[in-house]
Symmetry: C2
Subunit: 236 residues, 2 copies
């Protein structure tokens, strides 16, 4: 698996995201024609992430958003109930979409080394394909209401449990020999997050997501390696 292929196969274009957003927030959106609504939601989605990721969601005014999206204040408010709901709309839709993709992606791999490699690779590829959303989601999580904030935390902890679970399974099968699966899972998560939080840095150094994935996987398997080794990744 390479990033180029992942991106072709995963249905996570901006249009896919906004179709999902419309469907799950139909009542709050006044525009009736689906085609028009999705087209404008794409502009709003795009502009929100662009402006917010530069100066923060709180600092972005609705006038900023109007200017950046090319829609008037009035038209903007025909596509969303409030600024607060816009945040919730983007967060919940992204969370639903990403968790679906992740679940489907590495369930089929059997051997622990390959499974761990596939999990890391998929997380990195997904965060690369949806980098603006991942960055936004990380930085703006604390501006959500209590209920939404809880969901965001859960979603993050689930990722870590996936890594820890694979490592524990590998220990049991003798493929790994890792004394602290939880702490190892935590630092894997930290390395994955660094990819989308500091993307400008890696871009400047011309490091591709494929190369970063190779590096993280090699380092991780090196740490976990048991007597039988665990250097092999899942095929093709």
């Amino acid at each position: 698996m390479s990033f180029a292929r992942f991106k072709r196969e995963a249905a996570i274009s901006r249009q896919d995201i906004c179709r999902e957003m419309l469907a799950s927030h139909r009542a709050a959106i006044k525009i009736q024609k689906e085609e028009v609504a999705i087209r404008n939601l794409e502009r709003i989605y795009d502009a929100t992430l662009r402006v917010s990721n530069q100066k923060g969601f709180q600092a972005m005014t609705m006038r900023d958003l109007s200017r950046a999206s090319g829609l008037s204040m009035g038209a903007l408010y025909d596509h969303l109930a409030s600024k607060e709901e816009l945040l919730e709309m983007i967060q919940s839709t992204g969370r639903r979409l990403t968790s679906r993709i992740l679940k489907e992606s590495y369930a089929s791999v059997e051997d622990p080394g390959g499974k761990l490699a596939a999990a890391i690779r998929t997380h990195l590829y997904l965060s690369e394909a949806m980098q603006p959303w991942f960055f936004f989601s990380y930085m703006e999580a604390r501006h959500l209401g209590d209920k939404e904030k809880q969901l965001a935390k859960q979603s993050e902890q689930r990722t870590e449990r996936v890594f820890a679970g694979i490592i524990r399974q590998g220990n049991k099968q003798g493929a790994f020999n890792e004394a602290d699966p939880n702490l190892t899972a935590a630092v894997i998560k930290a390395m994955v997050q660094d990819w989308y939080l500091k993307r400008w840095k890696y871009a400047k150094r011309r490091i591709s997501v494929d190369r970063y994935a190779d590096f993280v996987i090699k380092a991780t398997l090196g740490c976990c390696a048991g007597i039988n080794g665990a250097g092999k990744e899942a095929g093709a």
Copy 2:
């Protein structure tokens, strides 16, 4: 070196920070008596980090800060020129203090393994001792003006260059055998940052900074290890 000892020896109490803050922003602070100014600055510093780290600096109003610090709006503005300057005051003072501590801390260690271990350990201990500031600094960096933003980025990159430099030196001396010092330095930085960005998580799991430091150092030296090994840490 343990965290308990580090904290005793480093002069980075809240009072130390606020004394430095007063000295470097004397003109902007109307209060004349140094003792009074520092005492109130401590309450302001504390309240700003507490409220901002929960809801974000932009979302914190000066009325929030007045309530949380126990000072009236008027008194507040006798200790700072504007909300924007409060942000700059906290950031620049913290940056000056932390970079001074870091420079002093691991210069004396000679062997590459011990030097890398000392650098990682010191970064973790410092970020633990000043966790609210590190978190604040990371999350609010993008609300700074262009000039200040540049300084914050520089300060972060310097850290990474320290790690990379030690690894390269170790390679040259044959103690390490690491093909990619820059990428290794980047993921060390990511693991160190995770400590202060996700401290609630580690606190819940009852993982101490000493244990986290041991884990990160062991993992890192394991990856870098050359023929001669590099598992030894700097003494005492």
